[in-house]
Assembly symmetry: D3
Homo-oligomer: 169 residues x 6
């Protein structure tokens, strides 16, 4: 039975402490990658009800630094389910204490695989996107999957039908 | 003046402790991402002699789990320098205690930008690849840069000249 | 201007890793107290838009252990605002991976004070509870404040008018 | 056989490092709660010779901040033993480097339960207070236990005989 | 004015958690070295009332492993004061939960130097040992200092008068 | 079959983050001891192909502080193998970002023992030093071993033949 993205929505709100900062006084890049990975793994688990492991990080863009003392919110949602793998989109916001305005600092795309206790992949429910943004991300997921297979040498670019359309236009 | 990849080579060898593991007894994916980021940032700094910040994670593939107690080696080297950004390739190995055979468990591609103290991008030295693998990675870097710009919506696929060649064959 | 509890709602969802466990394989009590404190401080900050510091922990009950590997959700909301202090209620749930059923494991009550940069208390907005549970917690907050003052020796029991009613019936 | 409070005395002296501080440069409240919990659990274990788990935090008052670089001493002692639960009083001091004067920054009351390996409560030795302060804390413990039962909804205020006396005078 | 060793006595009691263990389920050696260093630095600070920095670790012997779940006590005391440096002796015990018997697992000797804010060495009070053990350790300190100077190439063995006696007998 | 020191060479390069610093803004002494221990344990494992445990720290000299933000390189190599114990020399450098000049900040000597799964010592391969520095350290190891035995009370100074030569000249 198909599930919606909001069923896997995972919210992680925390303060950035000095112990997690780089020498410029901002959240260390690696520390943020680790937290995004944790949020994505919970979203994948909520979608699949299975044990999940990180398969790949497809893209993370660091647009703005996150200063020490910030309140940071990470939100992860499954953006597409394949046979046993799931693509997860994760957005990171920082909120201003005085105005409470949230601004986006970071966005990432991770892939997780659902496995049984022996580590063998198992089938996961399909995803039915609801909002416009969810549909857009769902559409793009197949192209990103092909990209990932090409980058890891497991698919020839000329076989990536979905992706080719983009470039040949 | 151009520099070679080996001038930025950064080696990080460590043991995987129980406190860094996931519930399956393997190194937590997020923890590994954080360590790869640290090694890449040092390679970028060694190439540029400047302050560097993570710009994006272009791809990380988790091929094999890293069990608690493993000796893990992370090796990062600049694979191509652009105007103020650098692509860094990072490989992760685990070594068997008894045979001392190393096996590859993970590979990642990060992008860093060199900045001055005010956070403004500064120019970095160019890279001159030497080995066959270094040359291959150097060649692929331009395509990956275009991919990254497309994924973040800052370039239209039809403008990605280098990348189009791949798909049109 | 008064604010509602849901405006300060803070959600923190995370996995319990082995590095945070006690020798019985459950989340260490102290580690959970620390996380609850962080969630409460964000709720107090969202309500007041000010710097906030922990004033007291009024009560935390550990009903069930949280095993390693659990997905744990902490939810904090302001339950009553006084002049410059705020009482925060925090609930902790664990969700079963297979059934996705959430069960409550823990509940706590913290008090935070809003301060300016010199550490001097500042006035915070009042709270207008909406749901039945929010109203109940709001009502109880005055009694708990009196209890706290008595426990710290800053009020005589016979002066605690609100509290006396309870015992004299 | 009854035991004295000093038999369970647990001392924990440590330096506050920058990695444990909040954005104001003081020890993070949550971090202090965690350390107090660890010291209390050792005191409960020394009194009972059993496995112990945190049952509740009854009260913690944060009177003064603990700046980074401070030498902080936590002292925990059992203040009363019930059937299988124990109340622990914990005091926190900071010492001035130059004058070596100690000042109290924090005080807390925790409750622990002694359990066997299956998690079933087991009987613990009674406590015989010796000093005036120990006797005072011992006397107050019954009232605090009733308070705790009321706060968690397991006792009606009108049944709390010991506590009622306080309010009726 | 001279001070006694007990004036600098520093006690650190804590539980060994899984997150601090090595793959054999014991406290990681490096983690123990770090904790011993922290306890010694407090003892040196209590003796001198100055800022102190680690100068050297003269000897640490690991006699027995410390299993996860142990209650561990570290006790550090100044054993001799020189002009601006202090030798600190640190003993580590583990206590058995059921019998409460303490057994020694580890012993170490560290040297700290007292400095002003610019990092320049400052003079410290002399030490007057009281117990037999304190006197023994005080006597040995001069020989150990000469050893340390020889090991770091700052003294010729033939100039180490105190040490020579030992070998020439 | 004998092995060379370079076969056990272990390199650990990392950035010093604020969370690992002392109140003066330098890497905490204890944290550095812990990292040196981890690098040494890997070198000992690479030489022996066995499980290894820390036996003693023979000497560590802290010559210069390591400021937050530094790139630090730890290099460990077996300096001599005895029956089942190995002496490891570990050198620590910091590199200047702009000039890339490396300067030595620290040097340490650790001893590890190779054990089987039951913790019983096992025999390790002998070491054949190659460079001048390796030969020097190899020569000194026997004297240091005797020193260590004397310091721990397991050898009389007058029986330390190798060491006596030094003092008698």
């Amino acid at each position: 039975m198909a599930k919606t993205p909001k069923e896997s929505l995972t919210i992680f709100t925390d303060i950035v402490l000095p112990g997690e900062s780089n020498p410029l006084g901002n959240l260390f890049g690696g520390e943020l990658l680790a937290r995004m990975d944790r949020a994505c793994s919970i979203a994948a688990r909520r979608h699949s009800h299975e044990i999940v492991v990180t398969a790949s990080v497809n893209h993370v863009a660091f647009n703005n630094a996150v200063p020490v003392g910030s309140v940071m919110t990470i939100e992860a949602k499954v953006s597409r389910a394949f046979r046993s793998s799931m693509e997860i989109y994760v957005d990171v916001w920082v909120e201003d204490r005085e105005s409470q305005v949230r601004s986006k600092v970071n966005e990432g795309i991770y892939t997780f695989v659902a496995v049984d206790k022996a580590g063998k992949p198992v089938i996961v429910p399909q995803l039915e996107p609801e909002t416009t943004l969810e549909k857009e991300r769902y559409e793009g997921a197949l192209r990103r999957k092909q990209l990932s297979l090409i980058l890891s040498g497991r698919m020839k670019p000329t076989d990536a039908s979905e992706l080719r359309k983009l470039f040949i236009g």
